[in-house]
């Protein structure tokens, strides 16, 4: 039997598949389609210190093999999430990863501390790369020193393993990865969205109200694979890979390039059953390409230099 399990800091995954942050809410809606216990883990929508209303609409638009989004971190705030959402998810037999965001290091710290106290969350995904908010977010994600600082603060605020989510909108992704590894990150999560824009011909304006939005979906998969491949050669902490995954072959691509687990974002919108369908397809797909286990595939595609 093919073995789908993956062991990562804080996460004993029965399989490497998890919905990506922001594409799955807090799991409630998708729990009407299938049993969430099937998932390796669930990454929750970003949590901030207090409620955020997010950006004006339109917030999304389709692009070629992808979409732009500028939700703007709309969320009810960490307290509300811990009270109302985490217990719901905790009833399932799956790992919970809390995606945290903030405008200031103090906010990041407070959110991390709050999740730590619940004892229901298995890991933190530190979102230093959200391109759709005016303050914080992306600045932390493009400056190695700032990224290291916020990583350290969040590490100190909790006992949970911290996966730092990197932005692809940088000249040198390896430098970012090294900086957060040195600052104590337990893992990486990559990639977040590429910053993009679409013009609306009728109104002669950017279509997304926030002007720019984050590009996700199959369109960005080659960028994600390239960045994971590059980073894997230079850091020792595990990588949760994402960006355009729509099937089990894509998962193998990410694993070969060096990811240890894979998150699925945009594809949930096309097909709400995408995660369980990929999980079901994985054993046969691994076998077809000559593998017995997921762990065996990780990083296999890297040609030593």
């Amino acid at each position: 039997m093919t073995n789908l399990a993956v062991h990562l800091p804080g996460l004993e995954l029965k399989n490497p598949i998890m919905p990506a942050s922001g594409c799955f809410g807090f799991g409630r809606e998708y729990s009407t389609f299938y049993d969430l216990s099937k998932l390796g883990a669930v990454i929750m929508k970003a949590a901030t210190g207090t409620e955020r209303l997010g950006n004006p609409t339109p917030r999304v638009v389709e692009t070629a093999s992808g979409m732009l989004n500028a939700i703007g971190l709309q969320n009810p705030g960490v307290k509300n999430i811990i009270e109302n959402e985490v217990p719901f998810l905790a009833a399932y037999d799956t790992s919970i990863i809390a995606n945290i965001a903030g405008s200031t290091t103090t906010e990041y710290e407070a959110v991390a501390r709050a999740f730590n106290e619940t004892e229901l969350v298995h890991a933190i995904e530190l979102n230093i790369s959200c391109p759709n908010v005016k303050e914080g977010g992306i600045q932390f994600g493009t400056d190695p020193a700032m990224a290291a600082t916020v990583t350290e603060i969040v590490k100190n605020a909790s006992n949970l393993p911290v996966y730092v989510k990197l932005s692809p909108n940088v000249t040198n992704i390896v430098e970012m990865a090294k900086a957060v590894e040195a600052a104590g990150a337990d893992g990486l999560s990559m990639i977040n969205t590429l910053t993009g824009m679409q013009m609306h011909l009728q109104s002669r304006k950017p279509l997304i109200a926030n002007k720019t939005g984050g590009l996700s979906g199959p369109a960005i998969k080659p960028v994600a694979i390239r960045m994971i491949y590059e980073v894997r050669q230079h850091v020792n902490i595990p990588i949760i890979g994402m960006g355009g995954v729509t099937n089990a072959e894509d998962v193998l691509e990410f694993l070969l390039a060096g990811a240890s687990a894979v998150a699925v974002g945009t594809a949930n919108f096309s097909n709400p059953y995408i995660c369980p369908e990929i999980i079901d397809a994985l054993p046969a797909t691994l076998e077809r390409y000559g593998f017995d286990s997921v762990e065996e595939v990780i990083g296999k595609g890297i040609i030593p230099v």
Binding site: G22, C23, F24, G25, R28, E29, Y30, T32, F33, K45, L53, G54, T57, P58, R59, V60, V61, E62, T63, S65, G66, M67, N69, I71, Q74, G217, P218, T266, N268, F269, S270, N271, P272, Y273
Partner: protein, 250 residues
């Protein structure tokens, strides 16, 4: 409950300029949907689904009718689908028009491609022996559709912006002439809905809204509309698309 369902196309008819009527066979949707709900349709080659309202249902034949206008690449592609082909949808989606169980006179106000959901609503109201008055606005004569079907439900006014058919002007110009009514239901472009809710500040009314969607199930926060107090948002895909006229800030 929303399910992922396969819709088998029974017929495709061009009923007005760039406007397609499709009759789709599906047991689950035809048995469970209520007026004002929509289907979130998967179209080949497209990442995001397209929301299309349910325009009619035949529970015996187990068919659902949709009407859509060719506006962009998705609807263009959908219009090439032929009888015998199928596509999948998530549905029935959204809350739909809640009809009270009391008889009365109801005004339906539809604009353009906002007309479809009102037809199934009107049919349901007529079935309950309610009186139905319809005002349907279109840009121009070639856009007009379903006139006879609405007339069969009750008094119907057709308005075109350019006066090429029926009355001239906007739906709001006709409201006075429709006589008295208990409450209204409306669907159409936001400027139209704004004008209507402003004109009818005290009448109870339900309006159906549109916004660009991601998930269509309430998970991604793409499709929000601010509540009237400006302090929070409602999700059009799951809290709506139907709202009380004064509940949201247009």
């Amino acid at each position: 409950m929303i399910q992922k369902e396969k819709m088998i196309i029974k017929s495709v008819t061009n009923i007005a300029l760039d406007t397609i009527e499709m009759v789709l066979e599906n047991t689950f949707i035809s048995k469970t949907a209520i007026p004002g709900q929509f289907l979130h349709a998967s179209i080949e080659g497209h990442t995001l689904r397209r929301p299309i309202s349910i325009a009619d249902i035949d529970r015996e034949k187990e068919t659902v009718t949709i009407l859509f206008k060719i506006l962009g690449k998705g609807t263009e592609k959908l219009a090439t689908y032929q009888a015998g082909m199928s596509f999948n949808v998530l549905g029935p989606s959204g809350n739909g028009f809640q009809i009270e169980d009391k008889q009365g006179t109801y005004l339906l106000i539809g604009g353009g491609i906002g007309v479809p959901p009102l037809y199934y609503l009107g049919k349901k109201l007529a079935e309950k022996q309610c009186q139905v008055i319809s005002i349907l606005g279109f840009q121009t004569k070639t856009n007009v559709f379903y006139e006879e079907k609405f007339r069969a439900l009750g008094e119907t006014f057709i308005v075109t912006n350019d006066g090429s058919y029926g009355e001239t002007g906007f739906v709001t110009d006709i409201i006075e002439r429709a006589g008295d009514f208990d409450s209204y239901f409306s669907c159409g472009p936001v400027p139209m809905l704004k004008a209507i809710t402003k004109k009818l500040p005290t009448k109870p009314g339900l309006i159906s809204l549109e916004e660009r969607m991601g998930c269509g199930v309430g998970a991604c926060m793409a499709c929000v509309i601010p509540t009237n107090d400006g302090k929070s948002y409602q999700k059009i895909c799951s809290d709506g698309p139907v709202f009380h006229a004064q509940e949201v800030s247009l």
